[in-house]
Symmetry: C2
Amino acid sequence: MNIKEIAKLANVSVATVSRVINNDSKVAITTKEKVVAIMKQFNYSPNSHAIRLSKGVSDQIVGLIVPDIGNILFSEMVEVISNCAEKEKITILLCNTNGEYEKEKKFTELLIDYRVKGVIYIPGKYENSNCYKFLEELEARNIPLVFLDREIKNLNFDGVFLDNYTTSYHLTKELLKKESKKIHFISGNLNISSGQERFLGFKKALLDFDATSIDCEISYGDFKFESGYKLGETILKNHKDKELTIYIANNAMALGFLKAYKKYSWNFEKMAIGVFGTSDVLDMLLDEENHITCKVPNKDIAKKSFQILFQKINNPAQKNKKRKKILYNSIIMNRLNNK
Amino acid sequence: MNIKEIAKLANVSVATVSRVINNDSKVAITTKEKVVAIMKQFNYSPNSHAIRLSKGVSDQIVGLIVPDIGNILFSEMVEVISNCAEKEKITILLCNTNGEYEKEKKFTELLIDYRVKGVIYIPGKYENSNCYKFLEELEARNIPLVFLDREIKNLNFDGVFLDNYTTSYHLTKELLKKESKKIHFISGNLNISSGQERFLGFKKALLDFDATSIDCEISYGDFKFESGYKLGETILKNHKDKELTIYIANNAMALGFLKAYKKYSWNFEKMAIGVFGTSDVLDMLLDEENHITCKVPNKDIAKKSFQILFQKINNPAQKNKKRKKILYNSIIMNRLNNK
DNA sequence: GTGAAAGCGCTAACAT
DNA sequence: ATGTTAGCGCTTTCAC
């Protein structure tokens, strides 16, 4: 159903229908009513592309590819980006991938199809590198992309990340100052760049410290509450020692671990917990424990990613410039007691 | 810069440029390179509306108006809706309003401008009723809208909500079974429907119970962690009794309150906490306390809102049908001990 | 107050 | 392999 058909049915010209649609004052009230009636009857809605083409407006849409908007880390980032975008009159197309590669690909194609002006991309799990050919299409079409929080290596795009490696390294080193025979590590997913780098930072710290003197047991989770809980349960059940030193790769898993810990009312003579991340709630739960956490500037990171993208969108000369990789540091908060 | 200009600059026809854009195989490699070079040089990007108009595709976009995507409650809802939408090949335009009325209005106009197929709308604070005239435009254009989680009264739109009143009523009643002289209530915002109804349910329970025998002190927060913390601090500082009964209108403020509670290591002979809401973390923090919480089916609510919208979109006959208001119940979990 | 027609930027069938 | 051109659905100027 288009404007022409409506016009015919109403016995008027397309111009008149157009005037009705746009609330033009100089349409006889009777004509207007007649046209409106027909439009309702046929559930007519004007073609937005025709309107925008005709009016010469071109929209400013940016695509946002996110693995899991239900995750507080990402939803906060999305919030920041939304607010930045709103200020710049840019609209956000939200693509929630559940971390599935297939969807990332599909959504990228959709975004190209929508002729978005740019893309901010938080990948899920890393697939092998020739899986990311679909990104070349963005390159070819001059659509800037900025990676956020997680990286796909060896691709020539801008990106804004946390310096996971360094933070993890220092955090582990601090934790090891509490002498102990054994350290547990609940790692994140190794095929997510942040997970991998936290892992590598941990390993390096262990190496520098003196790997031989200390036993190390690593479990692998998926960055979510449940996995922290499950792994925590297993670890605690098998941990016969009176001391416990444990390092957990993110906030959510740390909370899960603490649930397991509290569930059985465990009690250790000495206990030290390191967490990559923090939150009000984590702080409350760790209150009486010996712990190290770190403040992750995720809002700053998100903001920066938008700024870089926006710059590229508005300054075409920038588009072909060398790509930047920006790393943010996090502040380590050491609350280990001194004994 | 349009296809015609590119064609002229490259000394080819528009058809050839179009072919290059669309990766048509039958273009001489040299021509292609020449055209691509010019496109890059002039930072050309084809007009999406012209393409879509020409190709006759009409898109399926649904607008999502959310007060605060950084809030876990809403981000979970957005996640559910995104996933539903993806299955139905519907794309989500995300509008984060910070709960500001002005932005709700602005975004609604934007969504109309984009000719979205429907809108899911979680309002911020309620303004006076003639502020919502802008929604009539949706009506006029036959664009279905579904309210989610929060209602604007007296408007003829569909909506899916929690039965805040009833849940709050029962929760309060249970809490009052613990005999006490005084009950504190940290209320949410009264110009948000959920806040108001929780308040009214609380009031009604008090009335039914026997209002005269019990002292009641109400503080008003904004549903956020910080306000729970601040109000909690004030309440605890002024509370000289050895017993404390407190009801808190949502999860986030309850966590804030607990932060205040833990900060000063308060200790009451008897303490009962009621929270409208729950979470893994809240459960952990309340572990040793006497408490009532309730499971809010926010994912179900979100899902339902999408289903209703989708039905209306695809079944125009439904559009004019009577509007539905759907209420969900939440399960109350009473963990008060029996003394 | 209404209509005719050009034009928005692109695609695709047809012609060469 | 490339060009010509009608047409996508709407807006808007100009004429009546």
